[in-house]
Symmetry: C3
């Protein structure tokens, strides 16, 4: 198999997926509504293994390899053929072959195989070795859009010398600029990493915001917004400007208190905020709770991105659970890939395969009509994102 050839996502299970549905899933163009850039520089194996472990902040210990994980196995299964290797090539062989590629060559080999036509890129995490959203689209094909991270926007203002008393107006002005920028289609909050969700979600007054901004500015060292008042301010201002708001939920690295990132703790916000689209990201292991919220609130949507990659072969079960209760207009596709372009393509491959297996079973049993299954694929693959972000 030559490098860059996309493996059939239904290899080994084709008998389980009705052919029309399978063919549709093989080819449907995705909106990856939450993704980051790919690496711009060559990385060593330790960095690669670290980059395929979401939770830890430490190097992978010597007595194990991160290849021996659900994600590592999925990379060997699905990405080895993209490099011209047989499926399941062992970790050594995979790494040796991968290391023959430069970063751009890797990107152009992997990224187009994702079949993504529009990338909505979170540029808020300062990855020095990560492509810009425009560069990602150049390498991958398709169009790119940008998500503004609220906490970083605020930190940049304060770092840039905005006086505390000017901060509320400066934030509004920055958000107005974002609204005016055709590349920007939404915002994101990482309140999960800063305070958890169990904070006072009332909209603060400008006077309160100034007081808290002053306290923040008085701290020595680089600005880091972990003040609930300033976080709530950012979210309410984004909503007031009519911008969709992505929220990191659940699964993430160990800096966060996972139990305080249960999306149900967002109820006080969801009940009272202006109904701009809210996008609950990742959600595992609280994806059923997110589906419930998407059912209960017109403006709430969710995905199980990131987790799909990290569950590897188990992602079929996750995709099934994500279909528990939410109306089909409320779920979106994302990879949440960051760094290795394996993650950008794998999210797509695993999602397509899982949808085929889950919906395929229902079509075969007569629970669903095949035409409906194809229609729902289109909604989750792209149409819901088009509506939510006004693409």
């Amino acid at each position: 198999m030559p490098a860059g050839e996309v493996p059939d996502v239904f290899d080994g299970v084709s008998g389980q997926v009705p052919e029309e549905l399978a063919q549709h899933l093989r080819t449907v163009a995705l909106v990856d509504h939450h993704v980051h850039g790919s690496f711009t520089e060559r990385i060593d194996r330790a960095t690669f293994e670290f980059s395929i472990n979401e939770g830890s902040n430490d190097p992978v210990p010597p007595w194990m390899t991160q290849f021996d994980s659900p994600l590592g196995f999925a990379i060997r299964r699905w990405c080895a053929p993209l490099l011209g290797l047989p499926p399941h090539a062992d970790a050594e062989t995979y790494w040796k072959r991968r290391d023959e590629f430069g970063p751009d060559e890797l990107a152009t080999t992997m990224l187009p195989a994702a079949g993504v036509s529009r990338w909505i890129v979170d540029t808020g995490f300062k990855g020095d070795r990560i492509t810009s959203h425009r560069r990602l689209a150049e390498l991958a094909g398709g169009q790119s859009f940008e998500i503004v991270r609220l906490e970083r926007l605020a930190e940049d203002l304060i770092d840039g010398g905005t006086a505390p008393q000017d901060f509320p107006e400066a934030m509004r002005s920055a958000l107005a600029s974002a609204v005016a920028d055709p590349a920007v289609v939404g915002t994101k909050t990482i309140v999960a990493y800063r305070t958890g969700f169990d904070i006072d979600w009332n909209r603060p007054s400008d006077a309160e915001v100034v007081t808290h901004a002053r306290a923040l500015a008085a701290n020595p060292g680089p600005v880091r917004i972990d003040d609930p008042v300033l976080i709530a301010f950012g979210v309410h201002e984004a909503a007031a400007h009519g911008l969709p708001i992505q929220v990191h939920v659940g699964f993430g690295d160990r800096d966060l208190d996972l139990h305080r990132c249960d999306p149900l703790l967002l109820l006080p916000l969801l009940r009272t905020m202006p109904p701009v689209p809210v996008l609950l990201l990742h959600c595992y292991p609280f994806h059923r709770q997110s589906g419930y919220l998407a059912q209960a609130f017109d403006h709430v949507n969710f995905d199980v991105g990131l987790a799909i990659n990290y569950l590897g072969a188990r992602s079929t079960g996750l995709v099934a659970e994500a279909l528990d209760t939410a109306p089909f207009a409320k779920q979106l596709y994302s990879s949440d890939a960051f760094g290795p372009p394996e993650l950008h393509v794998l999210g797509s491959v695993l999602w397509r395969r899982a949808m085929g297996l889950v919906l395929g079973e229902w079509v075969r049993s007569g629970d669903w009509a095949q035409a409906d299954a194809i229609r729902i694929v289109d909604m989750i693959a792209a149409a819901n994102a088009e509506r939510v972000y006004g693409l």
Copy 2:
């Protein structure tokens, strides 16, 4: 297919369910131990779509239809044939055909197809357009029983002019009347909607109750019991009268704080109350926690009603999880249908099908004996409810 003809619940999966088990599940008469009336009046499509969305309090927004949900798909799959349409008739066709039926005709077309011989009806939610429990049984066939909602009983007493100092005795007297009424087989608390489960569950003294009743009566406007003391009083009094107590758990509309309706928060009550049967209702997404409680406490039982309907084709996975740990004497069947008679029949169809698929797999693999599977079906279908409610 003429209207009213019941589709085979194992259509499309008959090869997966051993025949004797399948035949038993097709015909076993159910006790629907938690259900409401069906609509007495013609409804428009907006009302229908609103009625098949548990979580939201808003009309379905214009950019979607609630038919595009797991429940909507299940209605098109299983109820369309009851109206003489092919399975999966599209939403427009379904609605047009359904709209040709008057409410009684709809009810008599749908309800008997549920195969329910006894309906235990929660009459506490004031549905002006909902049948009484007796009328439901007339339309559906079978016998009806009544569940008294504790908070409404208390509110009716206070609304009816009971003085605060007389309230404890009036509540006891009303409960004694309920015990004496052969139609009444249990009570229900909706503490989930009023305070959540994380309250002080100690049994209050009459003096405390009077004080809190006085505070409540002093509020202007219609009485609404959301005082933990008054709620705990009602539950303890119902238990003291020997009445089974249904508890709304988990999945419900967005007025409740779902994370505060985790049944584990009931532990302080369960450990100390008189051991009358407690029935944890719905439970999703905390059904595993409910199964655990049913294993740990002799008097605790549970169901996954409501959620079965809302999960549609995914209900098979839910029914499987509900069989995780609880002794089989501790699980009951319910639909929790309210309004559209589709919900009364669908609960039954999906439960029968799911039980056939889950238990059928175990019979085929030799994990279970078929005779055992049939025996367990009988327990969950009816025998457990007969024991719990003394039918």
Copy 3:
């Protein structure tokens, strides 16, 4: 079938498990890294039924039998053949036959069928009728090791007359002795049963410990350590001595507040303790949370023992979920059997079968290579335990 003959763990599903993987799973020798002794005396049926109900503290009520549970069905399916009965022999027949065996005969009939080569035995629960760890290995075959329960160690010191001011040093001395004992390979905390996980996990000073030991010693009656300071002290001291620490998580009897045994509540401890191996035990229904922690912290490992037995045929779903996100080096096998030797063998049979079904499906679909599946079986069956405990 003569008594003692081991049923094929893939009976009824052999077509679903590739033969090489199946053969490996049939024969691989396990390390049961968390287990207790088996009964030394004849028990009556009531005691047996009580012993196969984890959650309750009451006798099984007269209107049910604990045989009618997922675990009871699994015993009839898998242990009846070990007694020379057909699979699914009814409860009466099973009991009558079982009762013909003396306790040693039962043990030597059942225990070797587990295929366990090393038993790591928690001797902290005072079971008067339970074998010692050495006796268990004599009856079962294989080698035995010991786990020291921290709370009992502390209680024995205080009960034995250690003065409060000497307690910190006495605990250190006892732990040093444990380290020096080649049979002792780790410790265990049952903080779940004593306080829940939401305590202050900071390492206390000796002065604080003495103060709290003094308060404890002042209580009349037998010493029971339920003081968070003393519990945290024990855990930090065990870590300081380099000993692996088992932690009871989730599923257990109703004395514990299950929602306060969510392993995420251990984050403050896990983030700050010396990185000795932590073993999260059982974990159901929080096993996904445990897998997440095992992914996020190099020193965290977990199992789904106990729950595998209690879920019976549903254990396949549990084993699948346990494979969601954690690196494969972080999961271990255990039965957590206590009392009836059925539990020692059943844990093994159900785990082997579940692993075959879950991994077998992935091998058949091409998601995993068969050689990888066999390698991962070896890691979870034994190699991870060898590394963690230094066997």
